[in-house]
């Protein structure tokens, strides 16, 4: 997993609430058996029209916007547990998703792939969305160590599990940790036979 400390980037707005994992990556693209290539199909049915042409109204296709931060509406990532959603977002180039609320499983999947979910207040979110829409060049700064997200002179702190924070900063994952606990796990099994 890649290490994450700070990020300064422009952002792409996705002003839609309840973005579910079926929208992030539709089921028909889940037949692959590795983690690569999902980025090409992220938000597939919103990015492309029925005839296969690009939907120019969708923000990812709007050349005014760019960057590795996605600023999305409330309740992002609800629905299916497919980690393919996180792989697709990472594959497209996102490193941070900002929303006012994340679904549980998605949040865990994101963190396990070095994709940082940043939960902000609804007010901060709407201000962020407005700022980006009015000025797509706006830079957003994320500092994981300090747990802050800043834009212009506005800033907010965000929560993250301290253990997960350490993992993100150092690029560790849970398997490494769990393997180091094998003795305790076996002792538990013996005790609970």
């Amino acid at each position: 997993m890649e290490k994450f400390t700070t990020l300064t980037s422009r952002a792409i707005p996705l002003d839609i609430a309840n973005v579910d994992t079926d929208q992030i990556i539709p089921a028909r693209f889940l037949k692959a058996t590795d983690k690569k290539g999902f980025g090409d199909n992220v938000f597939r049915d919103w990015r492309y029209n029925k005839d296969g042409s690009e939907n120019s109204e969708f923000s990812l296709n709007n050349t005014d916007y760019s960057g590795s931060i996605l600023v999305a509406g409330d309740n992002f990532g609800c629905g299916s547990s497919r980690e393919h959603a996180a792989w697709a977002l990472v594959g497209y180039g996102f490193k941070v998703i900002v929303s006012s609320f994340f679904a549980d499983i998605f949040k865990g999947n994101a963190l396990n792939n070095g994709l940082l979910p940043v939960q902000v207040s609804p007010d901060f979110l709407s201000e962020l969305l407005n700022t980006i829409k009015n000025n797509p060049d706006t830079k957003i700064i994320i500092n994981l160590e300090l747990q802050t997200i800043s834009v212009g002179d506005k800033s907010e702190t965000f929560d993250i599990d301290p253990y997960k924070k350490t993992c993100m900063i150092n690029g560790y994952d849970d398997i490494d940790y769990l393997l180091s606990k094998k003795t305790e796990i076996e002792a538990f099994e013996n005790a609970n036979g």
Binding site: D15, I16, A17, N18, D20, D22, Q23, P26, A27, R28, L30, K31, A32, T33, D34, K35, D45, K50, G73, D74, N75, C78, G79, S80, S81, R82, E83, H84, A86, F101, F102, A103, D104, I105, G108, N109, N112, N113, D161, P162, Y163, D173, D174, I175, Y177, L178, L179, K181, K182, E184, I185, F188, E189, N192
Partner: protein
């Protein structure tokens, strides 16, 4: 501090291996279910790190998401699907994992076959790379969906690193009206609470409505816990649960079973235990439900009109469905009906449908797919003579699998068409690109197929025969 514990606390606490200071806990996982779509990358991960599967005996695999529901004996045409299924077989063989592959007498949707085999038991912790793992909570089991990285973690260590969720209890007391099924109960609850009310919580369903439900009904309810954001749902184990588990393939036998039952009886929530959040509903207020929008929280009683809202996502949702705020769905023409998915594909669901359908004819405009949740359910349908009823009425009984619930195989609802579906998600394009899903109970689905349009079941609900 009170020492009174909830069902959830009891099961969780019994599985904590260790706690990280200021961090998550290591939770031991008793049973791990896997399927073809979310496991290959986890097997790859283990192989890349040179780690063996730690406890292969605690894993059971099935092929369900990406399988055809016709001609299962023939080679699979779609090459990518074929490859995915072959990888599952290879991975299971290599790692000594029991696999009920396509065509096996125990093959089926992971959340239908595991309880059927007695793999699911009260007091356990269970996971699967699938969000509807919450289904197994019907047995008083902590069961929840995980991502593929976590599948790899469980492969490697039979454990997960988790922060204990908060507790939520939904109590429904009273007597359900005739024609109101478990599916209506859960659609009603989600319509009241919304799709993210449960996020961060594990939910217990309590009250006589759930106590009086069959295991099939309890599974339908727990299945959709995830649709209100909850990681899982649970119902206290009782005699109904024990009777269901007893004698099944993986269930403990004889004295061992009795000893287990003694333990299972200690699991229900202590009187006076405190939940972080509580909701109470009245059974009498629930009616047959349908959804009108693109998330499972957008549900109404079948006789109600679509509400009005200026909210942007509400407007977008109705636009997608091509419905108007304020209108009724009664008499809307429907060309597709799907009875299936891990929510409603158990024998009881098909009995309800068959009872309603018997002696009637499917409307000409309707394509009606019946997809059993497992090979065992399929055989029961045939043995009980339900297939004859379905055939005579023009319904199509297909072979088991997830099918049109997520439309990964060929069972897709065409662009723009409405489907009254007993599945659990009405997201945009869930049942096929551009498809429009209306969630409902097997009874409402059967009635829709007969009428060719949505009908108001409540008009003659008292005399309705379906069970």
């Amino acid at each position: 501090m009170t020492n009174k514990k909830t069902l959830f606390d009891k099961v969780w606490d019994a599985h904590v291996v260790d706690s990280i200071e200021n961090g998550p806990q290591i939770l031991y996982i008793d049973k791990h279910l896997i399927h073809e779509v979310t496991s290959p990358q986890a097997f790859n991960e283990l192989e890349a790190r040179g780690i063996a599967v730690f406890r292969p005996n605690q894993i059971v695999a099935t092929a369900d998401h990406n399988t055809p529901t016709e001609n299962q004996h023939l080679p699979i045409k779609d090459l990518q699907s074929k490859n995915q299924l072959e990888q599952l077989s290879t991975n299971c063989k290599k790692n000594n994992i029991t696999l009920y592959e396509l065509g096996h007498k125990y093959n089926g949707i992971v959340h239908v076959m595991a309880p059927e085999l007695g793999f699911t038991q009260p007091g356990m912790t269970m996971v699967c790379g699938d969000s509807h793992t919450s289904t197994h909570g019907a047995f008083g089991t902590i069961a929840f969906g995980i991502g593929t990285s976590q599948v790899a973690q469980v492969f490697a260590s039979q454990c997960l690193l988790l922060t204990k969720p908060k507790s939520l209890r939904v109590t429904v007391n009273g007597k359900l009206k005739n024609g109101v099924l478990p599916k209506d109960v859960i659609l009603y609850i989600i319509s009241k609470l919304g799709t993210n009310s449960g996020t961060g919580y594990f939910c217990e369903y309590a009250g006589d409505v759930f106590e009086n439900m069959t295991m099939e009904g309890r599974m339908t309810v727990c299945n959709m816990s995830i649709e209100m954001g909850a990681r899982g749902g649970m119902i206290a184990p009782d005699q109904t649960t024990f009777n269901y588990v007893k004698g099944r393939e993986y269930a403990p036998k004889g004295e061992a079973f009795d000893k287990k039952v003694d333990y299972w009886k200690t699991l229900p929530t202590d009187e006076g235990a405190i939940f972080d959040k509580e909701y109470t509903f009245d059974a009498e207020d629930i009616e047959p439900m349908i959804t009108y929008g693109t998330n499972p929280g957008m549900g109404i009683k079948i006789s109600e009109n679509i509400p009005n809202s200026k909210d942007a996502s509400f407007v977008k949702s109705l636009e997608y469905m091509n419905f108007e705020a304020g209108e009724s769905l009664i008499n809307k023409q429907i060309n597709y009906v799907f009875i299936g998915s891990c929510t409603n594909s158990r024998i009881e669901d098909f009995r309800v449908a068959a009872k309603y359908i018997e002696g009637k004819q499917k409307a000409d405009n309707v394509t009606a797919w019946l997809v059993p949740g497992s090979k065992q359910v399929e055989i029961q349908i045939i043995d009980e003579g339900l297939k004859d009823i379905f055939d005579a009425a023009g319904f199509e009984l297909r072979q088991p699998g997830c099918s049109a619930c997520l439309a990964m195989n060929d069972d897709k609802i065409p662009q723009g068409e409405y489907c009254v579906s007993t599945s659990n998600r009405n997201f945009e394009g869930r049942q096929g690109q551009g498809s429009r899903t209306i969630l409902a109970s097997p009874l409402v689905a059967a009635a829709t197929a007969i009428a060719g349009k949505i009908v108001d079941l409540t008009e003659n609900i008292e005399t309705l025969e379906f069970a």
